[in-house]
Symmetry: C2
Subunit: 434 residues, 2 copies
């Protein structure tokens, strides 16, 4: 913990009056069973899902190597052994502190890696805690099928990742304070809305592919444990709708976003989209991203953000066209407009709406009827694949086949929300336009 | 041809004085051998690579079905049989006219589908002609290894595709005029620059994957014929550079663009980029697109274009911040700025430079040294993969493995240019800022 304290400066946390937070979110509140009311919530058993650090991962991958040999092997690949070790210790420090702090409060804990993140362990626990980054949190959330199991994330390496889904960074150091607030009811539940996906078509029961297997970024994030659960779907008769086509509600909810499109980046995607009440319009694009409010700070944000470079060029053109004059320096003005634009991309994680983006949309001819804007908000989205080799990808991790003729329905339902925590005195989000 | 004439209105072609065109491009001119000088160029043998229409493709795919059965089968998949037939006839009309017009001029022709687009046929021909869309043109160009074999593209269905790479749309009707101009020397060569790719690393001799196999969009575009050529590279010793790592210049040049990144769309890509003299900066993004001038109207354009929607929102913010007033209606003003911005994205196909785009770039910390702008121009680009399962994709068609540790060098060389035609009185591009 010394390493962390010496490195880490607390980010300024915007504090609103508790009443104001509640007001903002009153319309999105979801009822809680009595034992989950803040103040009455007293978990006896906590499952701690901890990240497999990059260092641990490499050790397991090369069990036959000594430390010195491992250092050399990593160096040949352009990786820094000392750096890996350093971050490993930071992570372990946070994990140990979280574990011992819960134990000191008289709570039973089990600390597990992803390989043991199984249904029996999840059922045993009153709450799931993660020590890792957003990847670990996403993995944990993926096996929580409804809003009745709370999940709390500790960012175990704030020097490395922002940890949007975890508690604010200060609690990576102030673990005691976080757990005190939790056990004393000094928090409210934040119901992060998730997207439910229904597939309709012929080829919808194939087991999905898991994308994160050994990826450097989220290498702690594997769905392999889910495969038995998903494979069993092949057995028995698939349910049919009136049209005779099979329907399947996927057993995984999207916490960040659903991507739909050709799974190979360089291929053009053809999709027919229907938003709320606008009926099927054929799109030629690089795919569709349907994001929750949670996901609006993630991939969707990076796809849609305005860059300083673009704003500079736009400003130059506007000045040439109109002789427009500004008081600030160009640089300051550009920064201001860019920031304002980008802030508006972030939406409330509790609002029951999706933000969608049609990537690199080729503008459809106005003669062909109503167009769909490249970016917007929708309560429900229906997509029909006209693709060759496409996928429906959930949270960048689980990839389902989605080829020509298959349909997907994306919706948000209250019962699918993820029950997470906002501790008293903190805010996760401030003001939203929508 | 009647169908086409009745449907099609000629696009206004901007005409510059021939001298002015030459001046713009004098600095990019490439010397021609005597027999290729306009006026002296008299092809005796022309190979016509024709598109396999969607209708023909479906017929071959379902040889056992009658016409009525095929119509029903397509309808179940949401496709329109009559529409397919209609476009098939338009295409065949142009193909037949091109063939007969060359024949009437005393020129030997061979009309082939992609399956017969082989080296012997290419060597036989004095010039390659395509009747199809941009996909057919790209396929034809992919087997022309240097600047000595001319290629001319006829857009065989201008109702359907813009055909950026083909002759202007009017020549789909005025075939005779086009061929007259060609044979009378009333044209100049346009040398479309292409990107040469060198791979350096361990795993660089794997045969590539061909992406277009049965894709609905460019289904006429297959590299399968190339596989023997590419597989042979495995035999014999790979050449080594001084560092001992294998080097390989790929046998395919990029006419549009090179995409480098995780081949699965939903994955984050880690790349180390060096542009001209800026040394390796690690990028976290959705991939890199390095585009030629030719490619700057294609995928790159759609990735970078400013949408009316974004410009509207920017205008709203600017007005709120500054009280900015404009004379035009908002809509007109937005359109004007957007168009001006987007026009600047298009670069000269003959300029020996690449336009690069770093997709969804996560901004690197300024503390880590010089940043690379998300979009810019470079004469040469060096990329090192820090990816898990990435590809280097040429013209959206051929995909080479590009995993952690592998390097790629992208360059433009005069000898790699593609020799295409600009007929007298037409322009392919007008004014360029760069």
């Amino acid at each position: 913990m010394n390493i962390l304290k010496s490195l880490f400066t607390y980010r300024n946390v915007k504090i609103l009056k508790p009443g104001l937070i509640c007001d903002c979110n009153r319309s999105y509140a979801v009822a809680s069973p009595p034992h989950l009311e803040p103040g009455l919530f007293k978990p006896q058993k906590v499952l701690i899902l901890t990240k497999l650090s990059r260092y641990e991962y490499e050790k397991r991958r090369h069990p036959e190597l000594t430390e010195k040999q491992l250092e050399k092997c990593l160096s040949l690949r352009g990786s820094d052994y000392n750096n890996l070790l350093y971050h490993h210790y930071i992570h372990k420090g946070v994990e140990n502190t979280v574990n011992s702090t819960f134990a000191a409060a008289g709570i039973q804990t089990r600390v597990i890696y992803r390989f043991d993140y199984t249904d029996p362990n999840i059922e045993w626990a009153d709450a799931i805690v993660t020590t890792g980054g957003d990847g670990t949190f996403l993995l944990a959330a993926s096996r929580i099928p409804d809003r009745d199991k709370p999940i709390i994330g500790f960012n175990s390496d704030p020097t490395r990742s922002k940890g949007q889904l975890c508690l604010p960074q200060k609690y990576s150091v102030e673990v005691q304070e976080a757990i005190d607030k939790l056990l004393k009811g000094k928090f409210r539940w934040t119901f992060r809305r998730r997207i439910r996906i229904t597939l309709i078509g012929d080829d919808i029961f194939k087991p999905p592919v898991e994308l994160h297997n050994q990826q450097l970024q989220y290498h702690e994030y594997r769905y392999l444990d889910m495969e038995p659960q998903l494979r069993n779907v092949d057995e028995g008769l698939p349910p049919c709708s009136e049209t005779g086509m099979a329907r399947r509600v996927l057993p995984v909810l999207a916490l960040n976003e659903v991507f739909i499109g050709e799974c190979v980046s360089a291929r053009v995607s053809y999709l027919e989209l229907s938003m709320d009440n606008v009926k099927g319009i054929k799109q030629k694009c690089s795919g569709l991203i349907a994001s929750t409010g949670t996901g609006s700070t993630s991939w969707t944000y990076n796809v849609n953000k305005l860059t300083d470079q673009n704003m500079e060029e736009i400003l130059t053109i506007v000045k040439e066209e109109t002789g427009f004059k500004i008081k600030d320096t160009d640089e300051k003005f550009v920064r201001k407009i860019t920031e304002t634009f980008n802030e508006m991309l972030i939406t409330n994680s509790e609002a029951p709406r999706m933000v969608y983006t049609i990537r690199d949309q080729l503008v459809t001819s106005p003669l062909r009827g109503e167009c769909i804007k490249p970016r917007g908000i929708s309560k429900s989205i229906s997509v029909r694949s006209r693709c060759f080799d496409a996928s429906l990808v959930i949270d960048g991790g689980l990839s389902f086949t989605f080829n020509d003729g298959t349909r997907a329905l994306l919706e948000i339902h209250d019962e699918d929300a993820l029950r997470t925590v906002t501790l008293q005195g903190d805010v996760t989000e401030v003001v939203f336009k929508h």
